[in-house]
């Protein structure tokens, strides 16, 4: 079932039975999921056909050519990129059938309840408690930096179920119903003036044991699947030269000669070179993936992009001169998406500061590169084999 020609036939059958022009968007997406053409590398019956991951491109190209609606992966990114692979890897058959279809179709938005005020980079230090009570778990605690929590129907949640175990071993992974009355979502306003994220307070939230993912106490291992998928951000897309933030600044430079200074020119060219090299590095990684030999470059891509985005957006504010002193709008808003391109330089500058913090801080990612790619020894740990309850907080 991995044959490209066969996939094309299946896709055309889908299009014939549900013409995009006359089919309601959600109906089309449901039919696509049921035809196994949602994510072809998933198993049959769960939106896939057990095909190679690379075969998806064949299907996507056919559907795009026919003007079929897509499932807006940006809006449902957390569900698609993090919850789904975790459910697929650790969920029961019942969980897979219940959650994957509405997730993919976009009927149910997901969020991720991992980070806490006292546990960011040291995620395993988390203190949100889940205590067993009959067939349920009772959860109390506070989470933070939760994108989409105000839109989400479900959350992936990690909570401490055994405070007597060392911190990595006493954690369990759950699916949390965000409509539960004990879930209180409050906007968390950021430096951009917007509330893209939330704080989530959990007070006596009852989660049925049937919504546990993986074994009790195995949550750290399950969370690794989620986190690994979070950082796989380099997909199949080719980026053109000047495709990122550097393109915005280059365009301004060309169109506004009155803004140019020699100092800015030096910095612009240095960053142009670095952005182009980062693009080529991504392209090289893509070519390696296509050739079936993924390279370690991916581990560093996010690091590079974070630093570049920050330096380029910083340069852009200065380039704008007097206009750089202004800001488009400080009104508190709740955006569904992070949109760098359609905003002003001040927003880009401020928002890019998050790039080296979200999804793993640059410091933690440098440790990962040093240890997993270069094989350098880890630092001695003082928290190993110490019960979580005995750790300093």
């Amino acid at each position: 079932m991995t044959d490209a020609a066969e996939l094309v036939i299946r896709t055309q059958e889908l299009l014939a039975a549900h013409p995009p022009a006359t089919t309601e968007r959600t109906d089309f997406l449901k039919a696509r999921f049921d035809a196994g053409l949602a994510w072809v590398h998933y198993p049959e019956g769960l939106g896939g056909l057990g095909a190679a991951r690379s075969a998806q491109a064949v299907v996507d190209a056919e559907l795009e050519a026919a003007g079929a609606p897509d499932n807006d992966p940006r809006r449902i990114g957390i569900g698609l990129g993090m919850a789904a692979p975790t459910i697929l890897g650790y969920g029961t058959e019942e969980q897979k059938r219940r959650f994957l279809r509405p997730l993919w179709v976009g009927e149910e938005v997901w969020c991720q309840l991992f980070s806490e005020p006292g546990a960011g980079s040291d995620l395993a230090a988390l203190g949100t408690r889940a205590v067993r009570d009959g067939d349920d778990w009772v959860v109390n605690g506070q989470k933070v930096w939760t994108s989409s929590a105000h839109l989400a129907r479900w959350a992936i949640l990690i909570a401490r179920t055994d405070p007597d175990a060392p911190k990595h071993r006493g954690i369990t992974y759950f699916v949390c119903d965000m409509t539960d009355p004990g879930v209180d979502v409050r906007p968390l306003r950021q430096i951009t003036g917007e509330a893209e994220f939330n704080e989530v307070f959990l007070t006596d939230v009852r989660i049925p044991d049937a919504h546990r993912l993986g074994e009790v106490g195995d949550g750290w291992k399950v969370a690794q699947t989620t986190l690994m998928n979070e950082r796989v951000s380099i997909g199949g897309a080719r980026i053109p030269r000047e495709g990122g933030m550097i393109g915005i600044v280059a365009k301004t430079w060309r169109e506004r000669p009155e803004l140019r200074t020699h100092d800015l020119h030096q910095r612009l060219m240095k960053l142009w070179v670095e952005a182009e090299v980062a693009r080529l590095t991504g392209e090289r990684l893509r070519q390696q993936l296509v050739a079936g030999h993924p390279g370690p470059e991916g581990s560093g891509m996010k690091l590079g992009f974070a630093r570049l985005n920050q330096e380029i957006s910083g340069l852009e504010v200065e380039l704008m001169g007097e206009e750089g002193l202004l800001y488009e709008d400080w009104t508190m808003r709740r955006p569904e998406l992070v949109d760098f391109v359609g905003r002003d330089p001040g927003y880009r500058y401020l928002r890019a500061k998050g790039n080296s913090i979200e999804g793993g801080t640059s410091e933690v990612l440098l440790n990962i590169v040093a240890e997993r790619v270069l094989g350098l020894p880890s630092e001695p740990r003082t928290d190993k084999d110490v019960a979580w309850k005995d750790l300093a907080r």
Binding site: M269, W272, A370, V373, E379
Partner: protein, 368 residues
């Protein structure tokens, strides 16, 4: 889009060159030779160029070469960079060869260029472009006069001239071939920062010269562009060696009762360096592929590669030195060979800054 990977043939070529260099070009030997009055390893050159046929990679088969491309030459340079090998590969097999190829394809010089290409391809003749190593592609050429069929004047900073049999000399707008073994040609070694790619002064006193092309500018530009583009692969080799060796050392070296490589301050520096080396690989492959395929983007690719690779190679060597501590300052530890080569390379064929200025024109991001 460029093919940024290595083919199986390129991997095999790398293995062969690395195997030879492991046997024949260890750091102690390079160091001993650098202090002698014969800095080039001509025995090693004979094996690389003659027996392995690498000097003729860029020369078409019809002219006696291998008919390979810049992609393969770049792989050879990565390995030569790792070993800081004292052989005139970049100068003879890349820059001089590319310059002659431009003359040959222009059809000028009555077969002189074709004949020389065949000779250079065998490796038995070493040819060097008599343009200062610091000169960037497209920069104005100066120095030598052509009068009554002979050359007069002096040039400085000519890399590998001490080992050269033939010099390609721009004079009064044209390009000439000059045999060094004749009266009227004097090659005087200069004391070079990089002992493994020695510089010399060349003076001509009524030296006999054969015309290669009346248009030196285009041919020299082609040669220097290939030099700049493929130098990035040599810089990649240097940077990679520095990183690998430093990672190895910091894993073994203990201070404060633990391997120094376990300290986050050092790990972050090495991880950062790794990121930059990964970038150099992409930029260097892109430049080699652009030349190999005759891409319209070759000027951008070459300038981009030099803008990025040169500072990274220097930083890699400087980081390696610092993270080796006191041992890095010693004459017997090879890191100084890398540092001297990397620093000299950062000036060769134009500095990173010069290449960024060239890029600004090429991609329409003009200075005020």
């Amino acid at each position: 889009m460029s093919d940024l990977l290595y083919t199986q043939e390129e991997d095999a070529l790398r293995a062969a060159v690395r195997g030879l260099l492991d046997d024949r070009c260890d750091a102690a030997a390079v160091l001993a030779r650098a202090e002698s009055d014969r800095p080039h390893d001509l025995e090693l050159w004979k094996t690389l160029a003659g027996e392995m046929g690498l000097a003729g990679l860029l020369v078409p088969e019809r002219l006696g070469g291998q008919g390979a491309s810049h992609r393969e030459a770049a792989v050879v340079l990565e390995e030569l960079g790792r070993a800081v090998a004292p052989v005139p590969y970049l100068t003879s097999a890349v820059v001089a060869t590319q310059t002659l190829l431009a003359c040959e394809s222009a059809g000028a010089g009555g077969g002189e260029a074709a004949e020389l290409l065949g000779a250079l391809a065998t490796g038995r003749v070493i040819g060097v472009l008599a343009v200062g190593l610091a000169v960037a592609p497209g920069a104005p050429l100066t120095g030598v006069r052509h009068e009554d069929g002979a050359l007069h004047g002096e040039l400085t900073g000519i890399a590998d001239a001490t080992g050269a049999d033939v010099l390609l000399v721009p004079a009064d707008g044209a390009l000439y071939a000059v045999d060094t073994a004749q009266d009227g040609v004097t090659v005087t070694p200069q004391v070079s920062l990089d002992l493994t790619r020695p510089l010399a002064t060349v003076s001509f006193d009524a030296a006999r010269a054969r015309l290669l092309t009346p248009d030196a500018a285009a041919a020299v530009r082609a040669g220097l562009r290939a030099g700049a583009a493929l130098l990035a692969s040599e810089q990649l080799g240097i940077a990679e060696w520095c990183l690998t060796e430093t990672v190895r050392y910091t894993k073994e070296r203990h201070q404060f009762n633990r391997p120094v490589g376990s300290f986050q301050a050092l790990k972050h520096r090495l991880a950062q360096l790794w990121l930059e080396v990964v970038g150099v690989r992409a930029a260097a492959r892109n430049a080699a592929d652009a030349l190999a395929t005759g891409s319209a983007d070759a000027d951008v690719a070459a300038a981009l590669a030099q803008s990025y690779a040169a500072p990274v190679a220097v930083r890699a060597a400087e980081e390696a030195l610092q993270l080796h501590g006191g041992i890095g300052m010693t004459w017997e530890h090879p890191v100084h060979l890398c540092l001297k080569r990397a620093k000299a390379d950062s000036i060769a064929f134009g500095t990173a800054g010069r290449h960024r200025e060239a890029l600004a024109e090429l991609v329409d991001l003009r200075a005020p």
